[in-house]
């Protein structure tokens, strides 16, 4: 399909265009803008959730009473639909909403911020909110990993006089490598395909400055709004190539880290 100019409604008029779609795709500034946006978003999201979920997992490991209650509570955002979550988020973060009011009343903010009209704010705010929504999944995976680590290793380290941080970097992190690798791979595969979040808040253009445009949003617009399916299929393939490259780099990086 990526070598054709196709409109689903008139399949008889499809014509073969060779690699034209691919050339257009590679030269399309909006596609790269969308790709940049999602990378911007994901780098913040991945770093933030990693710290939060690993931190929370470490704390949950230490307690026994009430751990189940905390896990259940932390899972509530995960089971909420993205559509509902985005309605809540838009209200919370709106210039008139609770979060900005609180921040203004304690002097963190001078005036209301219309972040949906801003060039740089939408992606970080979405990343922060998505950390709220998804951290529990990663936390549970890390917790599962932490509980399998042999306690004697820590005993031995403590006898040798290793500090908490040394134990963390020398024992916990290396032994958590399978979980970290799994989480990071899933992050890239899922995160690069973000759609509903931005679709709920911004229109198909991704809002002013295309600050909320993501590759899947752009692909949806090309295929189902502009009705050029062939080009949309090409964009999908391009995105898949990017995801593949990123995942490979990640595996290489984390694997090398573990061995050194």
């Amino acid at each position: 399909m990526s070598f054709q100019d196709i409109n689903v409604l008139q399949p008889e008029r499809a014509r073969f265009v060779g690699i034209e779609n691919w050339i257009n795709g590679i030269q399309d500034p909006l596609f790269w803008k969308a790709l940049f946006n999602i990378l911007y978003n994901q780098s913040i999201f991945i770093a933030l959730t990693f710290v939060i979920s690993l931190g929370m997992a470490l704390l949950l490991k230490e307690i026994t009473a009430g751990a189940g209650i905390f896990r259940t509570i932390y899972f509530l955002p995960v089971i909420t639909s993205i559509a509902v979550a985005m309605i809540i988020f838009e209200f919370l973060a709106s210039p008139n909403g609770p979060v900005q009011r609180i921040m203004m009343s304690v002097g963190l903010l001078d005036g209301p911020v219309f972040w949906t009209f801003s060039k740089w704010l939408p992606m970080p705010l979405l990343a922060i909110f998505n950390s709220w929504k998804w951290f529990a999944v990663q936390m549970m995976i890390f917790l599962g990993g932490l509980l399998t680590i042999n306690k004697e290793l820590y005993e031995a380290a403590r006898v040798d006089g290793a500090s908490w941080w040394t134990q963390f970097f020398r024992i916990t992190l290396p032994l958590l490598k399978p979980q970290i690798l799994f989480v990071m791979t899933m992050n890239v595969i899922n995160g690069m395909q973000m759609f509903t979040e931005v679709f709920m808040i911004f229109d198909l253009q991704g809002g002013p400055y295309h600050a909320g445009l993501t590759p899947v949003l752009y692909l949806y617009k090309t295929g189902f709004d502009d009705m050029s399916m062939g080009y949309a299929a090409t964009l999908g393939l391009l995105l898949a190539v990017v995801i593949l490259i990123l995942t490979t780099i990640q595996w290489k990086l984390i694997n090398r880290h573990g061995e050194s």
């Binding site: 399909m1 899972f75 509530l76 209200f91 709220w132 759609f195 899947v216 949309a232």
Partner: protein, 273 residues
């Protein structure tokens, strides 16, 4: 001793603070659904001063909640039942039966998990459109009736079951289908519950597929109805919007509380392989 107690207190404080942050948006959601519209606009921080359920009452007339609920239920329940039965059957074949090409088939199933869904979006859509499936229930059900991830999850569970049980049953004269229904299915209930809730949640919360494939308002699911409602009249009917979001969220929360033990275990197990 003193030290340990203080560190416990610190840990619990952080965990409780985390819970408050996690719960706060839900608290706001439920509180807003009981406020009159103007109060939501002007006093976002306060508790409802004039409690009202008019949002809940009106939302059933403006948003056609009955139809949306019906559609969402038909789709989610069918998808869940099909996934549990079909994936269990596939996983059983892949884990416990011997036939030529089995390992290759399993590798293909695993490999398909790694392919980004986005790659298949346009070809799948074109195909289903040409079959005339757009705007039917089956377009929301049949393409997602089998999932590689679920097959993998169930298979991991099945291979832990000793073959002796199955052999004993076969000795007693059970055929393969009886072995599957009488012996295997009861033994893998926990993982089936997990698959069930994951699938139900995913299907119930899905907006993307509904957006692609459903055209008539009479076919809309809850999520799609909610999206349309939010888009068409921004800033109006606020109390109804919040009542609707609460109503959409409640069913998954209920399912979650009944099955959460399995559900959380599922997430713990996935990374371990």
């Amino acid at each position: 001793m003193f030290n340990i107690r203080w560190s416990k207190i610190a840990i619990y404080s952080v965990l409780i603070l985390g819970s408050v942050i996690v719960m706060y948006p839900f608290f706001i959601m439920v509180m807003n659904s009981f406020k009159p519209g103007t109060e939501i606009m002007h006093y976002p921080l306060s508790l409802p001063q004039n409690w009202t359920i008019s949002g809940y009452v009106k939302v059933f007339t403006t948003l056609n909640m009955g139809v949306l609920f019906k559609n969402s239920l038909i789709i989610s329940v069918s998808v869940t039942i099909l996934n549990v039965i079909l994936n269990a059957m596939v996983a059983y074949a892949l884990a416990k039966l011997h036939f030529p090409g089995r390992d290759i088939i399993f590798k293909v199933v695993l490999g398909s998990m790694m392919i980004p869904a986005i790659l298949l979006l346009i070809p799948t859509y074109t195909m289903l459109y040409n079959w005339g499936w757009v705007n039917t229930y089956r377009v929301m059900i049949i393409p997602v009736a089998v999932s590689a991830y679920n097959i993998f999850l169930i298979r991991q569970f099945l291979i832990q079951i000793p073959n002796d049980y199955l052999e004993a049953a076969r000795m007693d004269g059970c055929n393969e289908i009886q072995v599957f229904y009488k012996i295997v299915l009861p033994m893998i209930k926990p993982v089936l519950a997990t698959v069930g809730i994951l699938t139900f949640m995913h299907s119930w919360n899905d907006l993307f597929m509904a957006l692609l494939y459903l055209r008539d308002e009479s076919m809309y699911t809850l999520q799609l109805g909610l999206y349309q409602f939010k888009e068409v009249i921004p800033g109006r009917f606020l109390e109804q919007l919040w009542a609707a979001t609460t109503l959409v969220t409640v069913p998954v929360v209920i399912v979650f509380f009944f099955l959460q033990r399995y559900f959380i275990e599922a997430f713990t197990g996935v990374g371990l392989k």
